[in-house]
Every structure is written in structure tokens, then in C-alpha cells.
Symmetry: C2
Subunit: 429 residues, 2 copies
């Protein structure tokens, strides 16, 4: 079966690469996911799946405590799902991938058009190539392979092509609410072929630090919000240290800071010769797999009101939670889907897989916490090029990962009978 799958993948390569180019060439920034979703829906129909394409609009979706998006108009952002129904008695699996991409940023930093899909030296270039249209192609190949080889499985295989992952997972939320959950999930985000049973969650926050204005020439008559911001930043650095010292899971052994607190943005003051009376800091706090978002919010907020500083005690920093959030997620390291994927990784690559914790959040958090679908993150693509100019994916890795994932699905969902496949083998001889 392994050889058969690999052979099928090789045969499909040219057509699949061309399809990846088509996906990359559709700019699918948030709010603009429709075209690529229609393309994927068409492909699913071609391979013989019934397709569910819908625009989330129910009240339950918008009112859900885990609804987190910067918009309420999803009219140009449909979700797509397709199910290969099992014969019964088997375990089901969700294959989840997002189609939204982050903006290309400063175009002048790209060698080619950000949506070129250009191919060079075995790499395919373009925004989304790695994050995560290459991964989506793995899933589509798995779906097509199962259909094409007429492999009847006992469990359902449920494919999600979701929108809006990059700022908090509204697409996957909608898929879960529509009932597309399973016994476990695989999400081929770009892990550089590492297997991530745990994913760091994260949230964005904004802190306002207050001072008292004065003329710069008599700055001692005021209280500099910038000096107070430095006190706040030092407290945040201490908090990060405390939070990370608590983490003992060996998955995090090689990660210098398992759940970092990143301060990404600062602004404040409006005149060089005035004492600034307000500074705003925006950042991202990592959430460990065993934490809830509520616990983490409370911990940061409590720290901000207990800083040892007279001024800050009387004028405590104000914490806001805004923008994106990703729930942490984890699957037991000894979960059978983990065992199966590890085995198939070794079968195909000949090497031991690297098992680590993900330094960023994925839709696996929502699938785990809300959909009761423990998720493994594993896919082709190098994380370091995601969100950067000249994003690319090594094409060979896509097919390697696709074969590993397909075989793992067959093991997990169990092949009921493969008469068609035998017939096919005969024919090929």
C-alpha cells in the first residue's frame, strides 16, 4: 500500500503543482477568500465528493464566545467542507486547512509578484505557498487518492477548507458549529515536517500606561508615561519568566521560551518637548496547552495592578484584549493517531520524526477545546518564510507529507475493503 500511494503521488505531481499555482495565484487575504474556495470546491467535485459551501451567518456563530474576527461580513468568505463517508465502525478524522493568507506587506521586498506562483529550483513562490496552501494540497491529494484508489474506509474523512484562520479561527469555528468534528484531526500547517502534538495558544493585548504632561524644559513637574512604561515592560519580562519556569513538559525542552510575551508595538506622546502622558503597548501573550485564556488574562491583569510603584498603584495601567486569539490545543503524545503518523513518517522518510510543541496557535485549539477533536499539526513548509517576502514551499516535501498523511488516515480510519484497488493493480500490470 505504501508503494502504491507513493506511486500515485508521483503520477499526480505535475497536475497537483499546477493546481497549487492556481491556488497561490488567487489572492485570498481575509475578506477575499471566495475565489480560492470556489476553486477548491470545484476540485472536490471533480474527484467525486459532495461539497458543502456556505457563508456562516447564523446568530450562534456571531454570538459565540470563541467568535473572534475583525469583521462581521463574511459574504465574500465562504467555508468549504467535504466528507468521504465511512462504511461504519471506524474512527473519523478531520483534515483542516485554512485558505486565508496574510497581506504581502512591502511589495518592493518581493523578487516576484507576491501572487506569482513562480517555480524555481524545486520551490514554488507566493504568499500562502507555505502558509498554508501547500499543506492544503496535501489534504486534497489525500482525499483524491482515497477516492481515486477506491479505498473504502470504515471511518469518515472530513475535509475543512476554512477562512479567517490568521486572526482567530472564525472559519473553523463555523465548521465546528456546522457539525464537522471527528475523533481526531490533522492540520498541515508549515511545521517543516515536525510533528506538533501541542500548540501554543495566544492572545493579543493592549496596555495603556498613564502619566502627567508637562513642558519638557520642566519635565520634573510631570510624570513621564514612557518612564512608567519601562517599569511596566520590566514587570512583563518578569511575568514571562515566571510563566515559562512553570512549563516542564519535555516537548518544550529545546524551545528557549515556550510561551513568550511579545511586545510588538508601542506609541505615545505627541510632542518632542512635552512629557508624554499616555503610552500604548500592543503585544501577544503565549498560552500554554494546559491553560485557559481566562487564566492568562487574569494573570496579566493582576500583574498590572500589583506593580511596586507608587504612581502606577494610583494610576494602574489599563489592559484591553483585542484582535486575534488562538486557543491552545493538544493531543496526548501517546495518542494512537500520533503513533500512526510517527510510524508512517519513518516508513517514508527513513528518519525519526521531531516531536515538538508549536510556538504558534492554530485552529487545532478550537478543534480540541470546542470540537472535542484533538489535533496534530504536521505539514510541509518552513515556518520562517511564512508571513515574509518571497514566501515559498519546497514542492517535494508536499508530496512526502501527503503520502505520510494519506497512509496515516488509512491506518486510523481503517480500510474496509479494497477490491477496486486490487483490480487497479492488476490493470496497471
Amino acid at each position: 500500500m505504501l508503494e502504491e500511494i507513493q506511486k500515485w503521488m508521483m503520477k499526480k505531481k505535475p497536475e497537483a503543482i499546477s493546481f497549487l499555482q492556481q491556488m497561490v495565484r488567487k489572492n485570498s487575504e481575509q475578506g477575499n477568500e471566495k475565489e480560492v474556495q470556489l476553486l477548491i470546491a470545484e476540485k472536490l467535485k471533480d474527484i467525486g465528493c459532495e461539497v458543502d459551501l456556505w457563508h456562516p451567518d447564523e446568530e450562534e456563530f456571531f454570538q459565540h464566545p470563541y467568535f473572534c474576527a475583525t469583521r462581521t461580513d463574511f459574504s465574500n468568505s465562504p467555508n468549504v467542507a467535504a466528507v468521504i463517508k465511512g462504511t461504519g465502525g471506524g474512527r473519523s478524522v478531520v483534515l483542516n486547512g485554512h485558505v486565508d493568507v496574510v497581506p504581502p506587506g512591502d511589495i518592493s521586498q518581493w523578487d516576484n509578484d507576491p501572487y506569482s506562483g513562480a517555480i524555481k529550483d524545486g520551490k514554488l513562490y507566493g504568499r500562502g505557498a507555505t502558509d498554508m496552501k501547500g499543506g492544503n494540497l496535501c489534504l486534497l491529494l489525500a482525499m483524491e487518492c482515497i477516492k481515486d484508489l477506491k479505498l473504502d474506509l470504515k471511518g469518515d474523512v472530513i475535509f475543512h477548507s476554512v477562512m479567517e484562520e490568521e486572526s482567530g479561527g472564525a472559519g473553523t469555528l463555523a465548521a465546528i458549529l456546522r457539525g464537522y468534528t471527528a475523533d481526531a484531526a490533522i492540520i498541515p500547517e508549515p511545521t517543516n515536517m515536525k510533528i506538533f502534538p501541542s500548540q501554543q495558544g495566544s492572545m493579543w493585548f493592549r496596555i495603556h500606561i498613564f502619566g502627567r504632561s508637562a513642558h519638557g524644559g520642566t519635565r520634573y513637574e510631570g510624570v513621564s508615561a514612557l518612564e512608567k512604561a519601562m517599569v511596566v515592560i520590566q514587570e512583563i519580562q518578569r511575568l514571562e519568566k515566571t510563566r515559562n519556569e512553570r512549563i516542564t513538559d519535555p516537548l518544550y525542552e529545546k524551545i528557549p521560551i515556550p510561551v513568550p510575551i511579545n511586545l510588538g508595538k508601542i506609541s505615545g506622546g505627541d510632542w518632542p518637548s512635552s512629557v508624554p502622558d499616555c503610552i500604548m503597548i500592543e503585544g501577544r501573550i503565549g498560552v500554554a496547552p494546559d491553560e485557559t485564556l481566562e487564566q492568562v488574562r487574569k494573570e496579566l491583569e493582576d500583574r498590572m495592578t500589583s506593580i511596586q510603584d507608587d504612581w502606577l498603584t494610583k494610576h494602574p495601567p489599563r489592559v484591553e484584549w483585542f484582535g486575534a486569539q488562538w486557543l491552545p490545543g493538544s493531543i496526548d503524545k501517546e495518542h494512537e493517531l500520533m503513533q500512526l503518523l510517527k510510524k508512517r513518517f519513518k516508513d517514508i522518510s527513513g528518519a525519526e520524526p521531531v516531536i515538538e510543541a508549536s510556538p504558534w496557535g492554530t485552529d487545532g485549539g478550537l478543534l480540541t477545546a470546542l470540537g472535542h477533536t484533538p489535533s496534530i499539526v504536521f505539514g510541509p513548509g518552513v515556518t520562517s518564510v511564512a508571513h515574509y517576502p518571497d514566501e515559498y514551499i519546497e514542492m517535494d516535501k508536499i508530496f512526502e507529507a501527503a503520502a505520510m498523511i494519506t497512509l496515516t488516515i488509512l491506518d486510523w480510519c481503517e480500510v474496509a475493503h479494497q477490491p477496486q484497488q486490487k483490480e487497479l493493480l492488476k490493470k496497471e500490470k
Copy 2:
């Protein structure tokens, strides 16, 4: 003579207050000084002065090393000067006041329209009331009083009504270049009736601090420009300490930080979950009376390239000098104009004057350094309301200061003969 001057001031009060209202009601933000200058020119003509109203446009002005402005179009910003020519053999004096005002800021923080000129409880309200149209009124009263009482003086009295003081003194530069200098000067900026023989100079600077970007979830792969900015800020705090420890002049005895370095503005980073790769800080550095701007620039720049930090050594912060600058200025504490003003202060108020160093720059720096006209800063108005909402001036103080200044001018320039005045006295009896 003292009583005579005081009597004259009392008589003029209603008319003068009404004129101050007119001045305040003319919004004279930079680039918009024309209307108030026309008003002042008219007043000077009314009291019998020949008026010089001109738009600085000569190459010498724009090319001058002390030219410092955010614009090159002064077509709506004339300067005004008027001279009461002396009979000869006496010392001359410059009376300098600026008409430009800073913007009103957030209008909702004002109780009244910022240009209302409203009067309540002995105070006149409006942007510029204190900084420094109230002071300008003192000078106009002095001019009018000398004319009205027909006091022939030996030395020239040279009145400047200048634009563009609030960002570096281009108006006073133009007046100096046009030849309006003297043996000494009085500038009635709002000192709250303190006498400032020394004025702090200042310059604006901008510092760019560089880091290396990375995803916030793996922030340890980047170098936070914000963390490096904190190192830079600490170095600036040390520099401020060093610079102030050098100042031993007793004038600064009661001033906690004689020449502060104010960090007024910060911004950097563009995404909460990215490591910021550039932070910009804007500030103002105070310049001591015995320092040159060049020395101060070099000291800050040298500090920025010698910070003990591996990253910053390899990626040194970039310092820019932009926007406003004010030269420091000083007059000998024992200068005769100082003695005269101190005496007249005591004569009228009955109290000893407070002698201090000014915590901010004025056009006195340019007058001293370029115009060889040592300057005293002394005027009505409370500094703390300048540049703030609901700016106001206590009206009584204007007339007190005007009398002190007028008497000081008479002493300094020397009354040649006052037959007209004697005649006038007789008539009034």
C-alpha cells in the same frame, strides 16, 4: 515719575484690555500671523511711531545657519518693528515679543472657544493670552507711555513684534538681520514675574533604534528594538545626570534638573505578534547657557555610539536633529539692566524679585549670540498655563510688569528732557 507712570497705566487699562482681547481673538498660529501683526502695526502708527512691516525673503535669511523653521513660505507672516529714536548718547534697548501661538490642541478640553478673549475674575482667557500677547501688551504700553508722556530718551527704544518663535526664532533672526539690535533687550515671556538672566537653550532630536524582526511566538529568534530602546533610554538618563552635575551656577539652585532631556514621543513596531525591528524616539535636550548647540549634539551622538551593548555597538542608534532649536542666552547677573529692573520691581511690588534661570528657550538666545544684545526675560503670566487648554493671564500683572519695564527703560535709555511731561503735569492739576 513712578507715580506718574502708574497713574498713566491705570488710565489706559480699559482700552489696553480691549486691545489685548483683539490680539487674542486673532488666531495667530504659525503661518497665520499676518492679521495680528497688522493690528499691532496700526496701534504703533496710532501712537505716533513709524512702522516697519516686512516679509523676510532675502537669501541671507533662508541660508543663515541659525535659520530654523518648518517652512519657507512667510508670505502670511510679516515681522513688525518700530523705533523711538533717541536724542543721542544713550544706551539702546530692544523690546522683543512674539505673536505666534501654539495650536489650541483638543478643543473639547477648553471651557470657551480658544480665541474667545473672555474675561472672568480678573483673568483674560485664550490661546496666546499668556504666551505671549499679554507680554506684548506690556511692551506696547511702554512704547505708548513714552510717546504719550513725550519723554525724550537719549537711547533708542526698538520694538520687535516677531513671528515664528515657537519653533526656533526665524522672526527674531529676521529682525536681527535687518539691523534691529541694541545694547540690551527685554523679552516679556511669561516668567510669572520672575527675572531670568539666563535661558536654557534646547534642540529637538530623533533617535532610531534598530532590531531584527521575528514572529512573536518565537521572539527569541529576533532582536526587539523595544528592548534595545530601553537600553538607549537608560543611557540617555545617565547622560542627563552627567550633564546636570556639571552645572554649578547658583541661578539653578532651586531647579531640580537645570537642562533636562525630555523624551516626548515614541513609536515603533507594526504588529502585536511580531518582534519590532525599529523604534523611533523624539525628544528635546536642554542646552546650558555656556554650551554651544554643536557641543551638545556631539555629546548625545557620542553617547549613542558608545553604549555597552553588543547589538547596539554593531547596530548603533541613528540620531537626527530636526524641528525646533533655541540657542541658550544669558546676560551678566550684575549687568546694569538687571540692577535697574530689580530696583523697579522692588519699587512697585515692594518685594524682592526672584532671580532664576529660565527652563525654556526664548528668542533671547538669538539676540545674545547673533545680535550681541544680551537679554533679560521677564514678564507677566504663569508658565504652567502656556500651551495648555484654558490659557489665561491675570490682567493686573500686565500693568504691574508694564510699569516696571517702562521705568527700567527710562532709567536705561535715560530721559534727556521732559518739558512736555512737566507741562502735562501742570495741566492735569
